[in-house]
């Protein structure tokens, strides 16, 4: 019986469970619902366009040309940080492969002992000691892992995320370990941009009123400056200001204490009988440095690396189509036909760790 070896490369992100969407060969990763993200983009780009089109010419001439230049720089930073937050992997933990899941199950059963029939088994919790505090690690039934400390499962994206902060619909992604600093810088620069545009809109109206008189400024005649647009900008900036500046302040507070939004909402470290935050350095500057100036963590999903699947096809039986032999998403080993060998899932194939192509 002769066998033919066929190699087919499968991108890992094609097989990934969870409710994320991927673009650009796996480089861009977002949640499924993107509507609010498009709204965010529209509001920012729209308001800034109006500012550049209608306010900036007047201000550049009458006050200083540095004003639009600085506004452009701020705008570019805001967009860069927004896209970086939205498109990066927040720190998704890959789900446990079957062997690891079985290993954990066996450990749990060994720890629980014999549970009498009809009785509920005890909750799956592992206690670890971190900086002399006992922290409980919960078991995730979806990902089949004991979640690392500070990780949490996002129900919208259906993934466990490391150092999970929250799922932000405005950004269209979860905020976690890998993109928290981009998120914070986005809110910070957006606050600055909003304040900037708001302030210069007011200055612009005041200056025009001084020049032409307030009533003339309000009048809209063709060919003159459209006051309604300024009102629109001021309204958008006013409402944005309260929410974004408030959010920036809240996250500054969280960073100084080295806490996540998730922990703050659940009250993990507050209250008399609760333990203190074991991750805080008890020093505001150290906490800020760790969160904002810490290392840039790598992706766990490795969407850009390929798994090489090798399977042997028996030529004598028949020549199967590639679809038959492609791995099922749940990595179960179903033989496509009785005589064909079962297909190894790429992760259990130890050769992939050797033959990994970069």
């Amino acid at each position: 019986m002769s066998a033919v070896m066929i190699t087919r490369k499968v991108r890992k992100w094609e097989k990934l469970p969870g409710k994320n969407t991927f673009c650009c060969d796996g480089r861009v990763m977002m949640a499924r619902q993107k509507g609010v993200f498009y709204l965010t983009l529209f509001l920012i780009v729209g308001t800034c366009s109006l500012f550049f089109a209608f306010e900036c010419p007047y201000l550049a001439v009458h006050l200083s040309p540095a004003i639009p230049v600085f506004a452009v720089i701020l705008f570019l930073f805001v967009i860069a940080f927004l896209l970086r937050t939205s498109f990066s992997d927040p720190g998704v933990l890959p789900r446990a492969l079957p062997e690891e899941a079985n290993f954990i199950e066996m450990e749990i059963e060994a720890a629980n002992g014999n549970v009498p029939a009809g009785q509920r088994p005890p909750p799956r919790i592992r206690n670890v000691q971190i900086n002399n505090q006992i922290v409980k690690l919960k078991y995730c039934y979806t990902c089949k892992i004991f979640r690392p400390p500070r990780a949490s499962h996002c129900s919208i994206c259906d993934n466990c995320v490391d150092r999970f902060d929250h799922h932000c619909p405005w950004v269209g992604n979860c905020v976690g370990k890998r993109n928290y600093r981009y998120f914070y810088l986005f809110t910070l620069t957006l606050s600055l941009l909003t304040i900037y545009i708001f302030a210069f809109n007011i200055v612009h109206v005041v200056m025009r009123s001084v020049d032409q008189g307030f009533l003339n400024t309000l009048k809209e005649t063709p060919g003159t400056y459209p006051f309604k647009l300024t009102v629109l900008e001021v309204l958008v900036c006013f409402f944005t200001l309260w929410s974004v500046v408030g959010l920036t302040g809240f996250h500054t507070y969280l960073i100084s204490l080295n806490q996540t939004t998730n922990e703050d909402i659940k009250g993990s470290w507050s209250g008399k009988n609760r333990i203190q935050n074991p991750y805080s350095h008890k020093n505001i500057i150290k906490n800020c440095c760790e969160v904002l100036c810490g290392p840039t963590y790598p992706r766990y999903l490795h969407s850009l690396s390929y798994s090489t699947i090798k399977f042997y096809v028996s030529v004598l039986v028949r020549s199967p189509s590639p679809k038959e032999s492609s791995p099922s998403p749940k990595e179960e080993e179903h033989p496509p036909a009785p005589k064909l060998p079962p297909l190894a899932s790429p992760e259990t194939d130890a050769e992939t760790s050797i033959a990994k192509t970069h």
């Binding site: 670890v128 440095c289 259990t348």
Partner: protein, 158 residues
């Protein structure tokens, strides 16, 4: 390089995957990446304790180097922030450089120490930095009975 791969491939073809042993993370110092230096009992007869402990210790030191918060990480962070992180499109981060070193180290350890003993280490980054996976192989010639686990039957069918 090709010669070693050929040897590992041969081992793969002639060997049977018996089980996988998972070395868990050590969270005693917080969320920094660190693996437990507890020697798994399943590997008692397969490898000397000191060799595995040495490997784990070296890996832990690599991760400490990658996650160190100091002068270089501040510089990298501030420079990246000032350029709105566009600089990372052309520059490799320090963590990525250390990960490459780790990958080479694991490959070297596999070739020199683990493969001759019928074991294989998997880079923790492939498992989300949760576990250090050690695959245990049995030589087909020496093992009489066929284990019933599905992964072994899959390997035997190769």
């Amino acid at each position: 390089m090709a010669a070693e791969f050929h040897n590992l491939q041969e081992m793969q073809h002639s060997a049977l995957l018996v089980t996988k042993v998972f070395i868990q993370r050590d969270y005693s110092e917080g969320t920094v990446c660190r693996f437990q230096n507890k020697f798994p009992s399943e590997l008692n007869n397969r490898i000397e304790r000191t060799l595995l402990e040495e490997t784990v210790k070296t890996l832990n030191s690599y991760y400490v180097e990658a996650e160190k918060i100091g002068g270089q990480s501040y510089l990298e962070g501030c420079l990246a922030c000032a350029t709105a992180y566009i600089v990372f499109l052309c520059m490799e981060t320090r963590y990525e450089k250390v990960l490459k070193k780790i990958s080479n180290y694991i490959q070297e350890q596999n070739e020199k120490i683990y493969a001759p003993r019928g074991l294989l280490l998997t880079d923790p980054i492939e498992r989300g930095m949760r576990v250090l996976e050690v695959s245990v192989f049995e030589d087909r010639g020496s093992s009489g009975s066929t284990p019933s686990s599905s992964m072994s039957s899959c390997s035997s069918a190769r």
